[in-house]
Structure formats: C-alpha cells, structure tokens
C-alpha cells in the first residue's frame, strides 16, 4: 500500500561534493504486513522516514500511498495521509509535548482529524486507548514527565492509534527501553499487527527485535538497500556480506539457552 521507488536524496557537504543519504531506495509496505528496515547510524534510515512523513522532500524517486504521490498531496488528501500513516519515535520524552497532559496528547489526533466527535466521545476513546496500551486511564491528567520511559512510549503509541491509522511507522521505538519493558512494547505491536491488521514499518538496528516482529526485512546500508528477503530466508541464507556481518554481530546465545524448567512461560507471568 505504501510504495517507495528509487528514492534519492543528496546533501551538500563542505566544498562542492555531495553525499547521497538515500540512493535509489525501493521499499514496499503492503496492507497488514510487518516490514522491517535494518540500518545502522548513517545508513539513511532517518532520512527515509522523514521523507515518508513529509518532513523533508526527496530529490528524486517517489513515495506513493495507494497509488497517490505523497509529495503532491494537499488539503484533505494530505490530512487523510497523515491519518493513515502514523509514527512512533525513538525518544519518547522528546516526542511528547512536556506541557500537555496524557489526555490532551492522546486526544489531539482526534481533534485534528475527527471534528465531529464530541468531547465526551473523545474522552471515552482516550480511556479505551490507554487501556489498550496497558496504561491506567486514571493517570490521564498527568504530564509525560511523571511516567517512565516505557510508559511514555506507550502514550506515544496510544496517540498514534487514536486516529486509527493503517500503517504504524516505528523509528527505533524500543532502543532506549529496558529489556522487560521492551518486551511489553514489542508484544503490543505484534498483537496489533497480527490481531488488528495494523501494518508496521519497523526501523531498527537490532536484528533480533526486527526478526521478532517482521515478515519481510530490508537491509539499508549507506543509502542503498543491500538485501531484501523474507524473515526466514534472511537469517538462514543471507546474501549480502553486510547482512552476514550484522547477523554475526548479534551475541550468540544458542548454547546459552535456558533449560526447559528454568524459564518462565507466558502463563507463568501475570501478563493478561
């Protein structure tokens, strides 16, 4: 449903030379799919996302949504695009207005896109969303600063979900989180993808995380897609050297796996 074709963007550096942050990038995110984009710093993934979010313009190539060119959208069509494609950023503290309460933050999307909604309906939906992401609706009048990192990330997700998007673009959403909180957020995203049909474009540098969520993975290196494969194919027979390097860099735990009686199964946690 989202189709990126030949996206290219150059930056001018000191002197006359230019650097290609993106160099002919192709990417597809079909409806309901979970697509992973793996890239280290400097790979161009941030630029790609910013072009996708229309915070920046590419020099050439195109991004289309259901066939319509994203760069040319105006007015109502643009509003529709913004509603359909939502983003969760890496740093939850920085992406939430510190002066707004949780309720105001989650509501904002609804106010902007669904003007017919009464204040009452909005409030009910805020509570609904907070519960869905595992937060207590009673805390809705607090400000982001009084929540932990993982909770803030969930507020950000609730806010993104408020407008009922079709695609959730996630930019390293769990990189700054502790392992157990990371698991909570990842499970939430996996559930939304598998149960509610929410498409995901998940950008991360951590291969294991991408593998957990995504069916199809593209590897981005210095502005170019060096490999694209289904999840299983990528890990069993990686084609590109770079991909092999990335896989090799993941700490090898195969022989360090807990014995059967020494692990917690999901039913042994208090998880609902």
């Amino acid at each position: 449903m989202i189709e990126v074709t030949g996206l290219t963007k150059h930056f001018r550096t000191r002197g006359a030379s230019s650097v290609a942050a993106l160099d002919g990038v192709d990417l597809r995110v079909p409806d309901g799919a979970a697509v992973g984009l793996v890239g280290e710093s400097g790979s161009g993934k941030s630029t790609l996302l910013r072009c996708l979010m229309r915070l920046e313009q590419a020099d050439s190539g195109s991004i289309t949504v259901d066939g319509a060119d994203v760069a040319r959208l105006r007015g109502r069509a643009l509003a529709g695009y913004r509603r359909d494609v939502q983003t969760v950023f890496q740093d939850p503290m920085a992406s939430l207005n510190p002066r707004m309460t949780v309720r105001q933050l989650v509501e904002e999307g609804m106010i902007v896109h669904r003007r017919r909604m009464s204040a009452q309906r909005r409030l009910a939906r805020v509570d609904e969303l907070l519960e869905r992401v595992g937060l207590d609706p009673a805390h809705r009048d607090r400000r982001p600063a009084s929540f932990s990192g993982g909770q803030r990330q969930r507020i950000a997700i609730a806010r993104a979900l408020a407008v009922e998007p079709r695609v959730l673009v996630c930019d390293e959403p769990v990189a700054a989180l502790d392992v157990s909180i990371q698991a909570q957020v990842l499970n939430l995203l996996a559930d939304m993808n598998r149960n509610d049909g929410l498409a995901l474009l998940f950008v991360a540098h951590d291969l294991a995380v991408v593998r957990y969520l995504c069916d199809e993975i593209s590897v981005l290196r210095q502005g170019r897609i060096v490999e694209r494969a289904t999840r299983d194919a990528l890990f069993t027979s990686p084609q590109a050297d770079y991909t092999r390097e990335l896989i090799a860099a993941v700490p090898d735990q195969a022989e360090l796996r807990p014995a059967a009686d020494y692990t917690l199964t999901p039913t042994e946690t208090l998880e609902v």
């Binding site: 502790d178 909180i181 698991a183 993941v250 807990p258 692990t263 208090l270």
Partner: protein, 328 residues
C-alpha cells in the same frame, strides 16, 4: 568463601542514600555485596533503577552528594569514607573506569594523545614518556598508526574509535581492575561486537579483572565469568555465567532472559508486567513480589536473604530452588 579472602575487590553490605530537597533521603542501593577476584570478569546486570551504576560509581567515590555506608575494599584498602589521597591513588592507577558515552567523556579541545597521557602526567611522568605509553596502549587496542592518530581531536573519530580512546585512558595506568559502565549501550551492533571483543582480548592479555555493568543481557555471555543480577537496589542472584543463562534461579532473572528477542526461536517474549518499585516505595519484603507469579505471603512479608543456590551461585528468593525449576 576463600574467594573473598583473595578477592581484589570486595563489596559488603553496601547501602547508598540520596538526599532529597525536603531533607529526607531515599535509598538507592539497599544492601549489596559482590566480590571480584584478580583476573576475574564479573558482569553486573540490571535494568534502569536497579542501582548498578550507582554501585559501580561508589567504588571510586564519584558521587560525593550520596551517602555511602558499608564496605568497599580494594586490595585490602577500605574505600568507603576514604580520604582524597587514598581515592586519588586508587583512581587511574589501580582501578580504571570507562563510561557509557565516549564523546562526552572526552575534552573536545585536547588532542587524543594528550588525553590518554593525562593520568600518567598527573602522577608526574614526563610528557614524552607518557605519550609513548599512550601510543603503546592505543596500539594494544588495535589502533593502527597510533602515533599519528594521537594528534587528532575527539570529534574527528568515529564512535568505535572514541571508545578505544576512552579505554586507553583507563588502561594506560596499568590498573588491575577495569570498571566498564554500560560501554556498549548507544552503539551500533557491529561496533558493540567490536568493543566487546576488544574488552575480552585486553582483559585476557593483561590478566585484568573486569567489573562490567550493563542492562543488555546479550553481551554478557562473551566476556563474563560470573554475573551478578541487581533489582531495585538489591542483589537477587549471582551465578557463573553458564548457569546464569542455562539455569537461572531467580524468577526475575528468568523473566529477564525470557524477554530478550532471539534469533534461534520464535516463542512469544515474556513481558513481566508492571515495573520495578520506585526507591521511595521499596517494599519491606521481596522487591520483586508484586511482579512475580510465584509470590507467596512470606515473599511479601520478609526480604529474602542471599543464600547459596542449587547451581553454585547465590539467590535471594524464598522459593528457590524448591518450587521453581527442576531438582538439580
């Protein structure tokens, strides 16, 4: 424990309190103990708020506004409440420390060579000798053409290189213990792997003891001989590294390991509900009780002591190893 008798570093009954603006204190570390033998590599594992960084920093007395009680002995010398002279002698000479963000640890206006040489110069060594030592250390860390690169400034280096510089600064004084506080966080996977390999090689070649603090369970396997797990300011488990991964005793440790995404299977990640208690409201009993599926009344009422576990380490849990897990 004969280990403790010949240990290089022994921490015993450590408690660290932070002052609050209203005059009261909040306990960040609530009775922690660990030991590092000469040449041993210990990983101190915990999530944010576990108190692991505060503990490590207390070894070198880096946070004077915190009140530290208990004992931290390095090579027989007591460091808690030690005077400035003792601390200065230990820092940079016997104990080297590496922090998380290499860029902010480096002075942007000083060349890399001068910065690495600094700890030696502070002890009175001549500049030429200090720079020579710096060059040797950088070379040992795998930096080619070290002499030339020493004339550069930090911002001209990549993240992996900066980490090497910071490591060189910690190692140039030939310490016997290296404390690394989250050295791989905020690094790309490939650079992380490089840094871990570097640490492993250097530790092996110098017979260096390492206290490695991290929240990333994955990197522990390559470097550590033993792991210590902290939760809410307390030690909950210590174990040889193999047992830590294969036969974790404490429910928190199990939950932690089961929450890490893996490449070798597709089981649903275990996500422990809730979050660690805030230091101000740390429970009287086991700090993990309200997130633990096995918790009993005893768990909530009494704080579990650290006792030898079935697997050769120690665990602070009322129920291990009887209820949880197989018989050993």
């Amino acid at each position: 424990m004969t280990m403790a008798e010949q240990a290089l570093l022994t921490i015993d009954g450590l408690a660290i309190d932070a002052p609050r603006p209203d005059g009261s204190t909040v306990r960040l570390v609530d009775g922690v103990g660990l030991a590092v033998a000469p040449g041993e590599r210990v990983a101190l594992v915990g999530e944010s708020g576990s108190g692991k960084s505060v503990t490590a920093r207390a070894i070198l007395g880096l946070d004077p506004e915190l009140t530290v009680t208990g004992s931290i002995r390095f090579d027989g010398r007591e460091l808690v409440g030690a005077d400035r002279k003792t601390l200065a002698a230990v820092r940079g000479r016997d104990i080297g420390m590496v922090f998380q963000d290499p860029l902010s640890a480096l002075d942007p206006l000083m060349t890399v060579g001068d910065q690495i040489a600094q700890p030696l110069r502070a002890r009175g060594m001549r500049r030429s000798a200090a720079l020579a030592a710096a060059e040797r250390t950088l070379g040992e860390l795998g930096v080619a053409d070290a002499r030339r690169r020493m004339r550069s400034y930090p911002h001209e280096f990549s993240g992996g290189m900066r980490q090497r510089v910071v490591l060189a600064m910690a190692l140039v004084g030939e310490p016997r213990l290296l404390i690394a506080d989250e050295p791989t966080t905020a690094l790309d996977v490939r650079v992380q792997a490089q840094v871990m390999q570097l640490l492993t090689d250097v530790a092996a070649s110098r017979g260096l003891a390492v206290l490695f603090i991290t929240h990333d369970v994955g990197v522990v396997g390559d470097l550590a001989d033993r792991t210590v797990v902290m939760y809410s300011g307390r030690t909950v488990e210590t174990a040889p590294v193999g047992d830590f991964f294969r036969r974790p005793a404490h429910p928190y440790t199990r939950g932690l390991l089961a929450a890490v995404p893996r490449l070798d299977h597709d089981d649903r990640l275990v996500s422990l509900p809730g979050a660690p208690p805030r230091p101000e409201s740390r429970p009287v009993g086991c700090a993990f009780a309200d997130r633990c599926a096995f918790a009993t009344a005893v768990c909530r009422a009494e704080r579990p002591p650290l006792r030898p576990s079935a697997t050769g380490g120690e665990v602070a849990c009322h129920l291990a190893p009887e209820t949880i897990g197989a018989a050993s």
